[in-house]
Point group: C4
Chain length 372, copies 4
C-alpha cells in the first residue's frame, strides 16, 4: 500500500497552509509529492505565482467598527459562507484512501464550496451525497460529445449547480519534475467516472504532421464546443484557465457565466503570466458584474484579500487541500480551511473591511510602491 | 529559572545593534527568542521593514562646519537629548530578571525617552521612579472603560507626560513562528498593572457568527473611544500604528497630538506596507507640525537619519532594547543606546547636518535612484 | 583517451535540455566542461542571457483551433522544418569521437538546419555529405584573403547554401573560467579545415604599442572585408554577433542578407547586452523583411517562442548540442532536438498560434509587467 | 613576523583582479584581511559599489578599424599611458615588507600613475625616488596648519605634481568588521611621514557636548581650509570623496582643479550613493572640462570603460593593489595592473572605440534597460 500513516490530531507546529506542505513531504512518496507540488518545465510560473503575491501590500485602517463583519458572499445566485472554494483536484485517492469523500466531508463542515474534478477517483454521485456545501462540477471535454453529455447529465442529476469547464489544459503540460521522479498513477487509482468512455480512434500521422497539432490538439475543444455546451445544459458555465482579456470578453458575450483566472497552478505551460497580475486587467475589461474566480498559490488570508481587492469575487485553493488530506485526512482539510478562513477574517478586521464588497474597494500597494 | 547568564562586560565583537541580536540568541531560550524576534505569518513585512531601509541612500556633504552640532530636539514641548526613544515592549522580565527597571536605568543614563507598555511586567509607578528621562505611557484600551480610566490616572499620577495609544493590534497577530516554537509566557511573569482588571463577560457566538468579527473585535476601540479619551485626560495623545494618511488626518482633526507610523514591528498583520515607505506620504498629508514618530527595524544611526529625512520627528527602537537587556542587562541597554546615538552623530557630521531640522532637509536617494 | 563513456539509451530523468547540461558534467573532463559552459570574465552576460529570458511571459489563448498548425518556415528562400538551427560550435570532437558527423546525422534526422564552424574538427566536405538538412557555413576571416577565398570556394562546392560571418570575436574573450581550469585543446583535435593556412607574419611591437590594438586587431576584418566578401561569393551572407541597430542597418544597406543577434553565448566581451533585449530594438530598425536569427541560452520551446515573438525569424542552439553530443552522441543530439521542437509545438498550441508568423504577432509580458 | 610567504611566480589560476582577492586571504592574517576588505557598518555601500557596476552594459560595435587605438590620456596637463591610477592606500607595509616601494616599482613598470597617502608607511621622498610614472600626493589635513604646510612643501620638493585632498573622512568610519576582528596596526608599522607632528591639545568636553561634533569634528577641514590651501601651494588641487554636485561646483568655482567622485571604498559612512551612480549627475553639472576621477570596486577593464563612459576622465584602483602586493609583492602589483590594462584594451577594441574620448561617447545600457 502506498499510504504512509495519517495523523489523527494536529501537532502544535502545524499552524499555516505552508506547514501542511512541509508535513505532506513525510506523508507522501517522493514521486507523488513531486507530481502534486511540481509544475511545468522550469517552474518559472509556479514560483512566480507565489512570489508575486508577496509583492502586494495591504493598507490597514485603524479604529473601524467591524462588529457587523462577515465573509458571506453570493456567487451565481448561490450563498457561500466565505469566498474560498476547493479547486478541482484529480485523483485524490493518491493522497488518502478516503480521497474525495474525506475532502467533501471537510468542505461540508467548514461550509466551503467544492469543485469536483472529471478525474475524481470517486464517483461524482457519492461525492455529491457527502457534500453539504455548494457543489460544482469541473468538466474536461471528452472526445465523444455523447459521452461528454452523459457526464453533464450525471452532474445535473447529482445536484451540482455549475459547470467549470477547464480550457487551459488541452494537453498535458511538460511536467519535468514529475517525469524525472518517474511518477505513475498508483495501481487501483483511476478516473472512475470515465470508465464507460468509448475507446479513442487510432491516430495515424504522416511524417510531415505533428503529434501535437495533428495529434493531441484534434481532441481539444474550441469555442464551437462551448457554444454547443451552452445549448445542452441548464447549468451556468464557467471557463477555467483564462488569462487573456479578449478570451474573457468572448466568453462573456457568448453567454458564459464567469471565468477562473488561472494558470492551472503553473502545471501546464510554463512562462505564462500569473493570475494575480492578469486579474485587474481582466476585471477592467469584463466589467464589475462578470464572475471572476482566481486560483494559484493562495495560501494565506492575506492572499485571499489581495485577490479580491484586485478584482476576484472568490478564490480557489488547489494543492493545500491535497497536502492537508495526505497529512490528516478529513480532519486536515477541515483544519486547513479553518486556518485560512480565520486568517481572512483577521485581515478584514485589521484592514477595516466588513465584507467582500469592502475588500473590493480596499487599497493595495505594489512592490515598487505605486498605488494600484 | 529560565534566564541564562548575563554578561557583565561588553565583548570586543559586540559593536552594533545587530550584534546584540546575534548574542541574544545565546542568552534567550529558543521559544522566547522566536517570540521576540518573530513577526506575523510569513514575516514578509518583518523582512521588508529591514530590507527597504537599506534601499535609501544618504547624500553626504563635505567640508561643512558642524562644530555646533547637536542631536537635541523637542517633542510635544519636552526636551530630548536625541530623537531615539525606547518603543513600548511588553513583559521585559522574559529577557532579564530586572526587566523594565534595568531598561529605565539605562534610558536615564543615556537620556533616552522611554515608552512604558500597558503590559509591563513591573508596576508603572516603580518604573517611573527609576526613569529620569522623558517618560510616556503606552495604553492598550481595556474592555472596561472604568478600568482604562484607572490606568490613565495612575500614569498621570506617576508623572508620565504623554499617552501612546496603540491602535494597530486590536487582536493578536497570527504569529506562526512563536506558535510553532510553542511560546508561552514563563511562569511568574505577568501584566502586573492589569491585575485588578475586571473579568471579561463570557462571549457566546451563534453558528453564523465569527470569532473575529462578533468575538474579539467587539472589545476593540474605535474612533469613539479616542474621542472619549481626549475628554478624559489632560495628557497629549499619540496614536501608535497608523499607516494610512486619512487615518492620520482624522486623528489630527480630532485633537490627537501625533502618531507613530508603524506596523508594530511586523508582528500583527503581515503584508502591510512599511512605516518608512508611508512616512513621506503621511508627512505630506499631515503637514509639517504634526508629530510623527516612526518605528520598525531601526538599528543604525543611518536608519534614524533616513527616517527623519523622510518625515519623522523621532524614532523608536523596539527589539534591540530587549536583546541588549537579555545579553547584558542595564549595561547592555545603555551600551546599545550609546552605539546608535553616536552612529547618528557620525552620520549627521558626514552629511553636513548640524541638527534635527537640517536632517529633515537632507537629500536621500532611492534604490532605483530617483531623487525623493 | 579523454572521452568518458557515452550513453546508448536515454535515462528516464533526462527530459529537458538543462538535464543534458547536468549529465554532461559527468561525461566531460572538468577543464573541457569549463571551456564549453564558461563565458567571459565574470560571466555577467552569460548569466543574464538565461535570466532575462525567464523575465518574459507568454500570453496563452484558449479554445483556438490549431489543427492546421506547423513549425515549418522559410529562411533565405530555403525550407526549414522548424525555426531551430544548430549554432556553429568549434572542435566538436572534444565532446565525442564522432564529433561533427554525429551532430550532422542527428540534424538530418530531426530536419534541423546546421551551421558548420570554420573551426570544425572534421572536414567540411565530410560533414556536408552526412548532413541532409539545410547546411550553412560559418566563416572566420583569415588573415590571408587568398586562403579565406579558398575556404569559401570549398564551402560553395560542398553545397553549403549560406555564409555566416562571425564578427564579434576578432580576439579571444577573456575566458577566466577556462583559464583557471587550465583548458587546452586535447591532443589530436584541431581545426582540420585550416591545415593549409599560410603562416602568420611575425609581429614586432614597439614599446608604445599595444598587443591588442597594434597586435591582434590588425588581423580583424572591417566593413571593407565584408564588401570584398560580397563581391567574391554568390552565397547569401549573414553577420553573426551584431548587437547595435546601426551596425545592423549598415550591414543591410551593404547587401548583407541577415544577421545573428548574439553575444556569442557570453564568451567574448562580458557586460554586453543580451540578444533577447536587443532583438526588438534591432527588428524595429531593420524592418520586417531583414533576416534576424538570434542565439544565447535558448533551452526551451518557450524560449524559441519568446525570441520569435520579439522579432527573430529563427533561433540557434549552441551549448546544448555539445552537451547532448557528450552524453549520448548522435542519439543525444537527436533527442535534444526532438525535445525542444516538441516543446515549441506545445507552446504554440497553448498560445493559440498555428505558425511562425502567428508567433511574431503574439503578446509577451515583461517582468515589470509592461506590455511590449 | 606577521607576513605569510609571498609568491614569486604567478600561478595559472590567477588571471583576474578578483583572483588576487581570493589569494590574498591566504597571504594576510584574518584581522588584516578584514581591515582591508571591510567597509563601514553593514557594508551596504561596499556591496553596492560592486553590484551596481554589473548593472551597466556596454554596447559593442563590430568591424571597426581600431588599429590606431591607444589608452593614452592627459590629466591636468600630464601624460598618462592609461587612465588607471593607483588610489592612495595607507600603511602598505601591513601587506608586504617592501610596502609602498614595491608598489611604486610596479607602477613604474606598468606606467601607472600612483597617489601616495599621507599615511604611507614609507617616506614620501623614498617613494618618489622609486616612482618613474606620474606621482601625486594624497593629503590629510593635520590639525596644525604649520605641519600641514610642511607636508605640502616636502611633497612639492619630492616632485609630486598634484595634491589630492581627501575630504570624506574627517573621522574614522564605523568599521564594524575590522572592530569585530580586533584589528590593530601591527607593531613597527606607522605613518612615518607624520612622526614630527605636534601633539594634539587635550580635549575636555562638558556633559552636554558630543564627542563627535565638539570633539573630532573640531579638527576637520572646512571650505576655509581649502581656500587657504589654494593660496599656499602651486600644485593643482583635487578633492577626493565628493558625491554631491553642489560640492563639486563649489570646489570648481573656488579654483580646485578636479575631484575624485568616491565613497572611500565604502569605508567611512555606510548607506551613501555609489560613485558610479553620481558620476553622470556630477559630470552634467560640472561641465566637460572639469577633471573627474572615480574610484570604488574597479576590478575589470569593463569597469574602467563604464566609468569613463559615464563621465570619468580616469579611475583609481584601491584594494586590488594591496591584495596583489600581499600575494606577490611588486610582481603581483605589476601583473594586476597589466591584467586590467589589457582588459581595457580588449573592451575598447570590441566596443569599436580607439581612445579615451571615444569611450566618453560610448553607449551604455542599464539594468532596467533604459538607454543612458
Ligand atoms: C494534483 C493536482 C491535480 C489537479 N487536477 C485538476 C483537475 O482535474 N482539473 C482542473 O481543472 N484542475 C486541476 N488542477 C488545477 C487546480 O484546479 C488549480 O487550478 C491549481 O492547483 C491552483 O493552484 P494552487 O495549487 O497553487 O492552489 C490540479 C492541480 C493539482 C495540484
Ligand atoms: C517583544 C515585543 C513586545 C512588544 N510589546 C508591545 C506593547 O506592549 N505595546 C506596543 O504598543 N507595542 C509593542 N511592541 C511593538 C513595539 O513597540 C514596536 O512597534 C516594534 O517592536 C518596532 O519594531 P522593531 O522591533 O523592529 O524596532 C512589542 C514588540 C516586541 C518585539
Ligand atoms: C564550445 C563553443 C564553441 C563555439 N564555437 C563557435 C565558432 O566556432 N564559431 C562561432 O561563430 N560561434 C561559436 N560559438 C558560439 C555559438 O555559435 C553561439 O553563438 C553560442 O554558443 C550561443 O549561446 P548558447 O551556447 O547559450 O546557446 C561557440 C560556442 C561554444 C559554447
Ligand atoms: C586599506 C585601505 C587604506 C586606504 N587608505 C586611504 C588613505 O590613506 N587615503 C585616502 O584618501 N584613501 C584611502 N583609502 C581609500 C582608497 O583611496 C579608495 O578610495 C578606495 O579604496 C576605492 O575603492 P576600492 O578599494 O573598492 O577600489 C584606503 C582604502 C583601503 C582599502
Amino acid at each position: 500500500m502506498h499510504y504512509p500513516s495519517t495523523l489523527t490530531q494536529i501537532p502544535r507546529d502545524l499552524v499555516s497552509l505552508s506547514d501542511y506542505e512541509r508535513y505532506a513531504k513525510r506523508h507522501l512518496s517522493g514521486a507523488i509529492y513531486d507530481y502534486i507540488s511540481g509544475g511545468g518545465a522550469d517552474e518559472v510560473t509556479l514560483k512566480r505565482n507565489r512570489k508575486i503575491l508577496d509583492q502586494y501590500f495591504i493598507q490597514p485602517r485603524v479604529l473601524q467598527d467591524v462588529t457587523k463583519g462577515t465573509t458571506a458572499t453570493r456567487l451565481l445566485g448561490e450563498s457561500f459562507r466565505h469566498p474560498i472554494l476547493l479547486a478541482p483536484v484529480a485523483f485524490q485517492k493518491i493522497a488518502h484512501p478516503d480521497g474525495e469523500l474525506a475532502t467533501a466531508a471537510a468542505a461540508s463542515l467548514l461550509e466551503a464550496g467544492m469543485v469536483v474534478s472529471t478525474l475524481a477517483s470517486e464517483s461524482i454521485e457519492n461525492i455529491a451525497q457527502t457534500l453539504k456545501s455548494p457543489k460544482w462540477f469541473q468538466l474536461y471535454f471528452q472526445q465523444s460529445k455523447a459521452f461528454t453529455l452523459e457526464l453533464i447529465k450525471r452532474a445535473e442529476a447529482a445536484g451540482y449547480t455549475a459547470l467549470i469547464v477547464t480550457v487551459d489544459a488541452p494537453l498535458h503540460g511538460i511536467r519535468n519534475r514529475a517525469q524525472r521522479a518517474g511518477f505513475q498513477l498508483p495501481k487501483g487509482i483511476e478516473a472512475v467516472n470515465l470508465r464507460d468512455r468509448p475507446p479513442l480512434p487510432e491516430a495515424i500521422l504522416d511524417p510531415n504532421e505533428s503529434i501535437v497539432f495533428q495529434g493531441m490538439m484534434t481532441e481539444a475543444p474550441t469555442w464551437n464546443e462551448i457554444e454547443w455546451l451552452i445549448k445542452n445544459t441548464q447549468l451556468p458555465i464557467i471557463l477555467k484557465g483564462v488569462l487573456h482579456p479578449a478570451d474573457a470578453l468572448r466568453a462573456k458575450d457568448m453567454g458564459v457565466s464567469g471565468i477562473v483566472v488561472s494558470n492551472h497552478g503553473g502545471r501546464v505551460l510554463d512562462c505564462v503570466p500569473t493570475a494575480i497580475e492578469m486579474l485587474p486587467v481582466i476585471r477592467s475589461h469584463a466589467g464589475d458584474d462578470f464572475l471572476l474566480l482566481m486560483d494559484g498559490a493562495i495560501e494565506r488570508g492575506t492572499d485571499v484579500f489581495k485577490a479580491i481587492a484586485l478584482g476576484a469575487d472568490a478564490v480557489m485553493v488547489g494543492r493545500p487541500q491535497i497536502y492537508a488530506l495526505a497529512v490528516a485526512g478529513s480532519l486536515g482539510v477541515a483544519h486547513m480551511l479553518r486556518i485560512i478562513r480565520e486568517e481572512l477574517e483577521v485581515t478584514m478586521a485589521l484592514a477595516g473591511t466588513s465584507n467582500v464588497s469592502d475588500i473590493r474597494q480596499a487599497i493595495l500597494w505594489q512592490g515598487g510602491f505605486q498605488r494600484l
